[in-house]
């Protein structure tokens, strides 16, 4: 008799668990769909996915939220690059001039472009688009200042340009 009750209870628990697992899966797939759907409209789908999914906020974000996550990535990458630039002064002192220019350009990215993008994305997204495009330009110009093959940050520049392209595409969805 007890065994029967226990079995019924176990049965109910299993059922509930199955329900919850199913629900979570459905929700996950459905929510992930926004990220998926958004990233499909950017020039680099896999980069977009990896950037957004690496941030837990993306599962419940709207387009503005997704844009802000990517602007955060731009800021983080810009800050990282500034660190690399600083280190390069010691390891490649003959590159002081282009490093100085890069310092200026990346400070613009991190302090100016990112700030403008954040306030504009919420209210008047075309100004955010301008700031993000500018971030890509600043990065490219910095890179272009090094003699060929001597840039210590080529990989980071390329990454910045790719992230800016993706971010720009998402901001354009807000126009």
């Amino acid at each position: 008799m007890h065994l029967l009750v226990l079995n019924v209870l176990r049965e109910k628990m299993m059922k509930t668990m199955m329900m919850m697992v199913m629900m979570a899966m459905m929700m996950g797939v459905a929510m992930g769909d926004i990220v998926d759907k958004t990233c499909k409209q950017t020039p680099d789908y896999s980069l977009c996915l990896s950037l957004l999914r690496s941030d837990p906020r993306s599962s419940s974000a709207d387009t503005v939220g997704l844009g802000l996550i990517l602007v955060d990535k731009i800021k983080a990458l810009g800050t990282e690059t500034l660190g690399q630039i600083n280190m390069a002064y010691k390891t490649k002192p003959m590159l002081k001039k282009p490093l100085d220019e890069c310092n200026l350009r990346y400070k613009t990215i991190v302090d100016v472009d990112v700030h403008t993008a954040i306030i504009a994305i919420k209210g008047n997204p075309k100004f955010a688009e301008g700031a993000i495009v500018d971030a890509g330009v600043e990065a490219s110009v910095c890179e272009g200042g090094f003699p060929k093959g001597q840039s210590p940050i080529t990989g980071l520049t390329q990454k910045m340009n790719k992230i800016c392209d993706v971010t720009r595409a998402i901001v354009r969805m807000l126009l």
């Binding site: 065994l3 049965e11 459905m26 490219s140």
Partner: protein, 662 residues
């Protein structure tokens, strides 16, 4: 026990095979027991699926708009969506800098000498920081007032408030204290663009968009605190603001830039506000008697699919017969109406000419194939020119156009130089009474007061010629020129049946710029040119043979070689320009440091460019006349004036007094 086993749900039984060594239990027992419990489970999971799906649907609609371009089966929609894509790619070309091939081995960096040269001498700009849209321009008690979107804190967009300045002549300005700041919940995130209306008693109301503390776009009413103050220094915000909030069906960030109001035949005031529904740009219409309460019309002033958000809508009458401006409320058989909008997607201002129906507040274009916002529709300006706004100048009976001219350089440079953006030279706007199909713009007459010394030239310039025009300093110039292609050259080309009709293929943007030589062009002026021509900005005509031996004239500005710098945008701008029988080719160019404004055929085609030379600055900036045509000899007759500075003053009572004496 076998009996209880049979009662267990399949899940439990299926657990067992998984829990054990993984081998499957008796398949017969599984299939036999599967039917009843599985049905229930299936029903439950379907229900969950639908719930989750529904939730996902709601979630995806939150904040983001549908990206689906509505591809309709009729031709116009397809044209429009193609045009939309074209508009986007134009924008991309404009904004996606390509590092120039002539890159130096040494990093290029801006120094203060180059940057400080960029400030203009006679264009409106604040002493420092960022500016964008013109706001509420008006003439009152002897003063022209200009308000503008301004960031008091930085050389980039943000913290937007209303700057203010006054002038007697639209040229010599004195800055005034800020007119309105973001001090209310309903404009906490920005005191955005708006327009002024004069009431019958001569008083002024200002309607403007506020971005609320929650970033919702609302319309607010403000008025001068003291109408006896000709400087209108202080403004009062109506305590009952906002007077308009986004109506049902309109998203909270798609509702901005109210226009000047006009009187309806029913005696009410009417305004229009740009917006969008999905990808269709629209203009909403409201009627009011007191500017405090409004009734929204069911009809829209107009809408055009696939044009995106309409910003800074402007709506005004133009005379079909007279070359003068009209008050915004004028209507009648001798009048056409202009609808203009700034396209958020492409940052281009477009307008169309059409007919206004006052009874239901609607407007239809004369030519729907070039409807507002379609990429081929008319523009005030084919260069850098946005968020423009007109006002009726009752002082001189003209309609005047202001336009925001942003920078085309990097934000690093803007931050370094401490400022960003200009206003174009104010222009009069009238309908072209000769063609009836476009507007004509011209710098206000008062610009001439800046003319200092002048030199006159008449010359014949053979194919492949370059002539240095010695005018001394060449960064502040007003040039008026007339060109004619020698008859023999024209006849030769028109008579040559084998000469391809290239006009169909030619565009300023895509045909390679001023160094690409054709039979009948390009010819014009190279401004802000270094003597080595390593930097130059040509403004030119290109005459191309069209179908049926017709000639089509293009007017272009080529900034692709304007600067060595690789962090500035260097597009080639321009468009075809109507040239009527018997007309000579005429152009006017205002050069003012980092801005070049070119007016073709009396203002039928206008091009504003921003240029940032690194070498062709100060004394090294020169002027050249050139003729790159292969076959044509041209005669050029032109006058070049040195332009004085407008000496725009910071705020002081002394400066105001000095101006009022003029």
């Amino acid at each position: 026990m076998a009996k209880s086993d049979a009662l267990l749900p399949i899940s439990a039984r299926e657990e067992d095979p998984l829990l054990s060594d993984g081998s499957r239990s008796d398949p017969n027992a599984e299939t036999h027991g599967r039917r009843r419990p599985v049905k229930g489970l299936l029903a439950v999971s379907f229900g969950l699926f639908f719930i989750a799906f529904y939730v996902a649907l709601i979630a995806t609609h939150d904040g983001s708009r549908s990206n689906d371009v509505k591809i309709e089966s009729d031709g116009t929609a397809t044209k429009a969506s193609r045009a939309h894509l074209a508009g986007v790619s134009e924008k991309s070309n404009d904004q996606l800098w390509k590092l120039s091939g002539d890159r130096n081995t040494v990093a290029f960096s801006w120094n203060n000498s180059m940057l400080s040269w960029q400030r203009t001498a006679f264009h409106f700009q604040p002493e420092q920081n960022w500016m964008n849209d013109p706001n509420g321009p008006l003439f009152y008690k002897g003063w022209y007032h200009f308000f503008y979107q301004y960031n008091p804190n930085a050389a980039v967009w943000g913290d937007i408030v209303w700057g203010h300045a006054v002038s007697k002549d639209l040229i010599h300005w004195v800055h005034l204290p800020l007119a309105m700041v973001a001090d209310q919940w309903y404009d906490a995130n920005g005191v955005w663009t708006g327009s002024a209306t004069f009431l019958e008693d001569g008083s002024i109301v200002m309607l403007y968009t506020g971005s609320t503390d929650k970033s919702v776009q609302v319309q607010n009413l403000a008025y001068p605190e003291d109408l006896n103050d000709p400087l209108l220094l202080k403004w009062v915000k109506f305590p009952g603001n906002p007077v308009l909030v986004p109506p049902p069906g309109i998203l909270p960030k798609d509702f901005r830039d109210p226009t000047t109001a006009w009187k309806t035949s029913a005696g009410k005031w009417r305004i229009t506000i740009g917006s969008k529904i999905n990808r269709t740009g629209i203009s909403l219409v409201y009627d009011t008697t007191d500017f405090k309460t409004y009734e929204k019309l069911e009809t829209l002033l107009h809408k055009v699919p696939n044009t995106g958000m309409w910003e800074c809508v402007d709506f005004y009458p133009v005379s079909k017969t007279l070359v003068k401006g009209l008050d915004t409320s004028v209507n009648g058989p001798d009048v056409k109406h202009i609808v203009k909008a700034s396209m958020d997607d492409t940052r281009i201002d477009h307008y169309a000419i059409g007919t206004y129906f006052d009874s239901n507040g609607t407007w239809t274009p004369d030519d729907p194939t070039i409807d507002v916002g379609i990429s081929t529709s008319l523009r005030y300006d084919y260069g850098k020119f946005y968020a423009s706004k007109t006002f009726y100048d009752q002082n001189k009976g003209r309609r005047i156009l202001w336009g925001w001219i942003g920078e085309s350089d990097s934000e690093s440079a803007d931050v370094q130089k401490g400022w960003s953006s200009l206003q174009g030279i104010p222009r009069t706007v009238v309908l072209d009474t000769k063609t009836g199909k476009n507007l004509v713009q011209w710098p206000v007459e008062e610009v001439k007061s800046l003319r200092l010394s002048s030199k006159k030239f008449d010359m014949e310039v053979g194919p492949g010629s370059l002539v240095h025009i010695d005018v001394g300093s060449a960064a502040q110039l007003d040039i008026e020129a007339e060109f004619e292609i020698k008859k023999e050259s024209l006849e030769k080309i028109l008579g040559d049946a084998s000469a391809a009709a290239e006009a169909e293929e030619f565009s300023c943007q895509k045909s390679g710029g001023s160094t690409v030589r054709g039979a009948l062009g390009p010819f014009g002026f190279s401004v802000l040119a270094h003597e080595s021509l390593s930097e130059k900005t040509p403004v030119y005509f290109y005459v191309a043979k069209g179908k049926d031996s017709k000639l089509i004239t293009f007017f272009c500005t080529d900034s692709s070689r304007s600067s060595f710098a690789n962090d500035v945008v260097k597009p080639i701008y321009g468009s075809s320009v109507p040239v009527l029988k018997g007309e000579k080719l005429t152009m006017r160019i205002l050069v003012d440091h980092s801005i070049v404004e070119a007016f073709g055929q009396g203002g039928r085609t206008c091009i504003t460019s921003r240029v940032y030379p690194t070498k062709a600055i100060y004394g090294a900036a020169k002027l050249f006349l050139f003729n790159n045509a292969i076959d044509a000899t041209i005669t050029a007759s032109f006058k070049v004036w040195q332009m004085n500075s407008a000496f725009i003053q910071p705020y002081s009572e002394e400066a105001v007094r000095a101006l009022s004496r003029t």
